[in-house]
Amino acid sequence: MGRHLQRDVEMPGTDRLFVVENLCVSLRASGRMMVNNIGFSVDAGEIFGLAGESGSGKTLLMRTAIGLHNDAYVSSGRIRFRQLEITAHDHGKRMKDLLGHEIGFVPQDPFSSLNPTVRIGKQIQEALQLGKGLQPGSAAARKTTLELLREVGIPEADAAAEQFPDQFSGGMRQRIVIAIALSQEPSILVADEPTTALDAHTQRKIIDLIIERSRNRNLAVILISHNLELLRQNVDRIAVMYGGQLLNIIASESVGKNLGHPYTESLFNCIPKRDMQLGDIRSIPGEPVNAGFGIKGCAFSKRCRFREDLCDVSNIPTNKAANHQFDACLVKTKAWEEPAP
C-alpha cells in the first residue's frame, strides 16, 4: 500500500490518462445522487477493471462519466483526460468531443448495437469518416475497414464486409462492435459487460481480443464486469463498487489473499471456481444494497463480518487523489490511525 501511495505523491499524473476525482452522479429526473465521491485513475495502456453487483452503480458511473447516459449527469467532481480538465459544469460538451474519438465504447448487447439494415463494411466506413475523415467508399476507407475486420479476427474480411449484422453470431457481432470502436483509434476503451450476453467459450475469446488489442495498441481499457474472477484473471487493477460507493481499488493479483476490502474478499469467496470444494463457497448474508439511497457510513456494513459501530455512522474515506490503490474500510483505516501500542 505504502509503496503505491508514495509513487503517487512523487510522480503526480505522469502517465495518467483518465483521472476521476470526487465524481458524483445524479439522476436528472429526481436529482437523487446515485454515485458518491468516486476517485480513480487509469494509466495509458492499462487494463482496469470495475467490479460490482447489479445496482452497485458501476455501469451508471462509467456511462455517465463518458457522456453516454441520458437520464443521469455528473453533479460534482471532475474528470481529467490527459491535460484536459473537465468539470461538472462543462462535462456534457467536452465529453461529446472525446467520446467516439479518444474514448471508445463497447456495450453489453451486440445484438442491438449494430444497425441491422446496413452492411457492416459500410457501418465501419461511417465510423471512419467521423473519426478520421476518410470518405466512405474511397480506397483508403475500404482498406482500413478490411484491416480492422482482420484485426478483430473476422474470417474472410472481404466477404464479411458485404454482409448484414444478423448474418453473424453474437461473438462475431461483438468483434465488429469492437472494430467500430477501434476505428477511431481511441486511447481508452470502455467495455460494459462486453461478454455477458455471449456463450461461455465466446466470452473468453472476446476478452482475449480486447486484452490483445490493448497490449498492441497501448490502449487503456476499463472493463466493467460483475465477475470478479474474470477481472482478476485479466486486468491489472480492479475497482470494486457497492451501493454507489467505491470501496476498494486493488491490484488483481492481491484479490483473494485477504489484502483487500472485506467486500472484495467476500465477493471473491462467493464465486465458484475450478478447484473449489463445496465448503469453500462462502456466501454473503443479506441482500445487496442498491445505489442511490443516501447511505450513511459504509454501504456494506450490514453484511460485513468485521462491522464495528463506526461503520454505520462515519463517512467512508474517499480516494481524493485518485491513488492507484485504495481501501475504504473504516475498521482498517482506524487501525492505521491509532498508534501501535
Partner: protein
C-alpha cells in the same frame, strides 16, 4: 451413488429425440434433440452442462411433461411417462418438480407468497386443514431461509434472490423425489448465487432428493454435481463422474468449455 445394475434408476431416458421448427415470416429455425440417453438414481445430483441453444431446457421440459417428444422413452421408476394413467400422472406431478431461471417470471404476480407455496399442498395434500397448511408454509419458508413475514407479500415486493427461494419452497412443498433446476442461478447476483448454492446443499442434505442441475456454468456444475452430462447442439457429447470430466475430458467440446471458463 448406487450405479450398480441391481438398482433401477429413478429416471431413465433412452434414445430420446425431438425436433421442431419455428417459422417467422421468411426465416425458419429448426432445432432437435437426438439420441439422448440419461440415467439418474435416487438421491443423486446430476448436472447437464450446455450453452444456450444446446437443448438442455427442452430436455427439462420433456422430463417434466411440459413438452411432448418424437421418439425414444422417458422412464420414471421404470414406467414410461407417456403411458401414465391419470392417477399416476397426478402422483408424478408431486414427485418431479422444477425450478426455473427467472424467479420473478416463475411466480404468479397475482398470488401472495403464501398462496404460491400453498398451491402444491392444496393439490397433493388435500387432507390438511387450512391451519396445518399455513404451518407447513411457514416451515417451508424457514427451510429456504425466508422470514414468515414475507408470506403476505406479492412477488414484486421481494428481491430476486427471495423470489428464487419462494420458487424453491413451492417446489419442495410437495416433497418431490426429483428436483429439476433449469439455470436457477443465472439471473441472480453473484453474492445471491452463493446463497442459493448453499441452500441447495442444505436441502440435499436434509431431504431425500435427487437433483438434475442444468447450467451453462462449468464451475457451478462441477461444484454441485456427482455426475455430469455435457450437451452440445442437441446431443450428449460426454458423460461421466464429475472429477473425471473436470480433470480429463474426452470430448473436444468439453475441453474447450473447460479452457474458456474463468
Amino acid at each position: 451413488m448406487g450405479g450398480t445394475c441391481a438398482i433401477a434408476p429413478l429416471l431413465q431416458i433412452k434414445d430420446l429425440s425431438k425436433s421442431f421448427e419455428k417459422r417467422y415470416l421468411v426465416q425458419t429455425t429448426s432445432f432437435s434433440l437426438e439420441d439422448i440417453d440419461l440415467e439418474l438414481f435416487d438421491g443423486e445430483v446430476v448436472g447437464i452442462l450446455g450453452e444456450s441453444g444446446s437443448g438442455k431446457s427442452t430436455l427439462a421440459n420433456i422430463i417434466t411433461r411440459l413438452t411432448p417428444f418424437n421418439a425414444g422413452q422417458v422412464l420414471f421408476r421404470g414406467k414410461d411417462i407417456t403411458s401414465f394413467s391419470p392417477d399416476e400422472s397426478f402422483k408424478f406431478r408431486s414427485e418431479v418438480q422444477v425450478v426455473f431461471q427467472d424467479p420473478f417470471g416463475s411466480l404468479n404476480p397475482r398470488f401472495k407468497i403464501r398462496t404460491s407455496v400453498k398451491e402444491g399442498l392444496k393439490l397433493h395434500q388435500p387432507h390438511l386443514s387450512s391451519g396445518e397448511m399455513d404451518g407447513q408454509v411457514d416451515d417451508l419458508l424457514r427451510k429456504v431461509g425466508l422470514d414468515a413475514e414475507n408470506s403476505d407479500k406479492y412477488p414484486h415486493e421481494i428481491s430476486g434472490g427471495q423470489q428464487q427461494r419462494v420458487a424453491i419452497a413451492r417446489a419442495i412443498a410437495v416433497e418431490p423425489r426429483l428436483l429439476i433446476c433449469d439455470e436457477p442461478l443465472s439471473s441472480l447476483d453473484v453474492s445471491i448465487q452463493a446463497q442459493i448454492i448453499e441452500l441447495f446443499v442444505s436441502l440435499l442434505k436434509d431431504l431425500n432428493l435427487a437433483m438434475l442441475f442444468i447450467s451453462h456454468d462449468i464451475n457451478v456444475v462441477g461444484l454441485l454435481c456427482d455426475r455430469i452430462y455435457v450437451m452440445h447442439d442437441g446431443r450428449i457429447v460426454e458423460s461421466g463422474e464429475t472429477a473425471a470430466i473436470m480433470n480429463s475430458p474426452t470430448s473436444d467440446y468439453t475441453a474447450k468449455l473447460l479452457d474458456s471458463a474463468f
